[in-house]
Amino acid sequence: MKSLFASLNTIRVRSYIIQAVVVLSIFLVIVLIVLNMITNMRQRGIPLGLDFLDSETGFSVLQSLIEYTELSSYAKLFLVGILNTILVSVIGLVLTTIIGFTVGIARLSNNWLMKKLTISYIEIFRNLPILLQILFWNSIFRQILPTSDNPFSIGENIHISLRGIFFPKLTPNALFFVMLAVLVLLIIAFVVIRKYAVNYLNRTGKIFPVWRPTLIAMGLYGLVFLLLFDNMFAFENPVATRFGFDKGTSVILELFILSFSLAVYTATYIAEQVRASIEAVDKGQKEAAAALGLKPFMMLRYIVIPQALRIIIPPLTNLYLNLVKNSSLATAIGYPDLVAIFAGTALNQSGRAIEIMFLTMAVYLSLSLLISFLMNWYNRSVKLIER
């Protein structure tokens, strides 16, 4: 009997037992909470379940990417909210990446003015709360932009006002899809020819021309595209009415303000990351590349960027996730994102707090995990190989 006890009294067995006890007690607490909640809700007569998703919402939404009216269901509203959140996030992510990388590289410049400007931008916008910044840009743009009866117009058909940005709606016709197919074919041809050229170089030691023909083809295609532009779409111009504009396509001001402020805020962090990871590439690496006669562009392309990328991806993933999560501050300026219309208005209307909160959280969790997955996948492809 004593020997059995002694054989179980090892570090490994002890740690397993302790872990099992902890997991069990956490599980027990959760079960207790859920049971208690269900009992309380039943006593107060609050229903639990997803059946409410089929009922009418009875309110309209400022912007929706799919067909939605007051008569649509909560399920449809849920989808509208998700799409609006994704829309503002994607625009924000693209903008913040462009601003962040540009500022980050400019920060490394030897030009005094460039350096000071970028440092000032980073230090100011990184150190102010994001909610304050969203409100700031909101009030600024609302002061600057004219009312809809006196819009700021670019050309005849683009109008910018407090109501948003109105521009012609383009409905592509057959010719557009033909041009699109030609573009796809050209890209495939380029990839194939480039691969062949590399092979040809390795086999014969001679260079097969790729870049010059590609540039010529791109130029020609661009020219044809511009010439045929009017024939590729059916245009529906915005029409001025008593209450602003009708028809055409519009972007509401809130979308622009929210994605802009999110991008400006997050870009400060991205810029610092970009700078840090480029600086983290050892000076000796640049010297070694220079000693091989590599020109500055080649040095960046083959030595600095590949090494900087593997440092930058993990923090960049975090920053992207932050931007997506911060988009839930939309409520502050009335942009109809998932939190504003679903976890806000829909919750108040239906009173289904538990279900709506869980659904909303599930959406953000899925979005974040999806971004993490994509970034990890990319990270694996650029990370340092050590065999």
């Binding site: 030691g205 050892d282 010297e287 590349a289 220079a290 050590e386």
Partner: protein, 388 residues
């Protein structure tokens, strides 16, 4: 001393290439530079002849690496001019970008690219050239430097010595007209080192490369160099053939740093050297204020030196191999230290005056610590340094 006599005395004939009339390939004039406010090199001049291997020898931390980086263009000098084939590449008014200097370099810390395989590292410098053009040379270099089995590996997974050979291959493949080598074989195992030195030398010579090598390793310098310079106290204080450097040091510093040796105090009377070991008639006299020979192509050891003055205090320099233990000798001493060196013993012997000399004897002749022995010294080709 004429050129003819010089060759005879030195005993190492390097032929036409040693003639001082040829144009130098790299010419460094009055170069100075400071690092963090500290002067590292001051008014240094150096001339490197085409297709020769020139070696700069110096103690650790004397600025060898910085000097190479100034040549390569990574550090900017505070003054002075560097010319390659008479064309100025660095002056206070003009700095040519490192990429345009046509100088290859192998680094002390190897500086391999961690994200590229050994093969990709080696061929990176040939990016703009078709593989056909360099395939044969690549195979040759890879074989000579024993890298064949490592090509697909990544730098972080190979040893320091292997990384160093990879770095050498990378620098050699583009066959730059000038190759700068920073301690090129410092990480190699002893038994491989000698072979690699000869291989590296022939790879450089085959490709007609002008090489400048810095090292603290005398063996490496002696084996590789056509000419060598000794860097001490911010400048090159002696520039000559390796043979001259060893046998005709032009300063106490050179004598102390290069090889082993011992000094014995003495005095000059009637043009002859009086020492504890007797009177020495034939010797080479090096005064304290000797002319600056650092910029000379070859410092002819006695060129411009004054005749020894009477009553001058001097220090005579002996090599251990020229100091032999011989019981019949009248000069007596006592062994104070014994160093076993494999094929030989190095003995430190104290003379009655308290001066210590080193003696190198074949290890078949064994003497005990504290034993009283006789000393016989070959009194030829000695150098006498004025000691103030």
């Amino acid at each position: 001393m004429s050129q003819h006599e010089q060759g005879k005395n030195v005993g190492q004939n390097l032929g036409e290439s040693m003639g001082p009339h040829r144009e130098p390939f790299i010419s460094v004039e009055n170069l100075s530079f400071a690092y963090k406010g500290l002067t590292v090199i001051e008014a240094m001049s150096l001339q490197v002849m085409p297709k020769e291997i020139t070696c700069i020898l110096g103690a650790s931390g004397c600025g060898k690496t910085s000097f190479l980086k100034v040549l390569a263009g990574f550090i900017h000098p505070s003054s002075g001019v560097i010319k390659v084939r008479k064309k100025i590449i660095s002056s206070p008014y003009h700095l040519l970008a490192p990429q345009k200097r046509g100088m290859g370099m192998s680094f002390q810390d190897h500086a391999l690219f961690p994200h590229l395989s050994v093969y990709e590292n080696i061929v990176l410098g040939m990016k703009s050239k078709p593989p056909k053009e360099y395939k044969q040379r690549l195979e040759h270099i890879v074989h000579e430097l024993k890298l064949t089995s490592l090509l697909q590996k990544y730098p972080n997974s190979i040893s320091g010595g292997e990384q160093q050979r990879c770095s050498l291959a990378r620098a050699l493949l583009p066959a730059p007209s000038i190759l700068l080598l920073d301690e090129p074989l410092a990480s190699q195992d002893v038994e491989l080192k000698e072979k690699l030195i000869l291989k590296l030398r022939s790879l450089i010579k085959e490709n007609g490369i002008t090489a400048l090598l810095v090292t603290h390793d005398q063996q490496e310098a002696f084996y590789m160099a056509d000419r060598m310079g000794f860097l001490h106290n911010k400048r090159i204080i002696q520039f000559s053939t390796p043979y001259e450097m060893y046998h005709r040091p032009n300063s106490l510093w050179t004598a102390q740093f290069i090889g082993k040796g011992s000094f014995l105090a003495g005095e000059i009377t009637q043009g002859m050297l009086q020492t504890e070991l007797g009177t020495i008639k034939n010797f080479r006299y090096v005064p304290l204020n000797k002319p600056d020979t650092s910029s000379m192509l070859l410092s002819h050891s006695n060129v411009g030196y004054p005749k020894p003055q009477e009553k001058k205090q001097i220090k005579v320099f002996f090599r251990p191999s020229e100091t032999q233990i011989d019981s019949r000798s009248a000069i007596r001493g006592k062994i104070t230290a014994v160093f076993f060196q494999g094929d030989s013993f190095l003995y430190e012997i104290i003379l009655p005056s308290g001066a210590k000399v080193l003696s190198q004897m074949s290890s078949h002749y064994k003497y005990a610590l504290g034993e009283a022995v006789g000393l016989r010294i070959r009194l030829q080709n000695l150098t006498a340094f004025e000691s103030g």
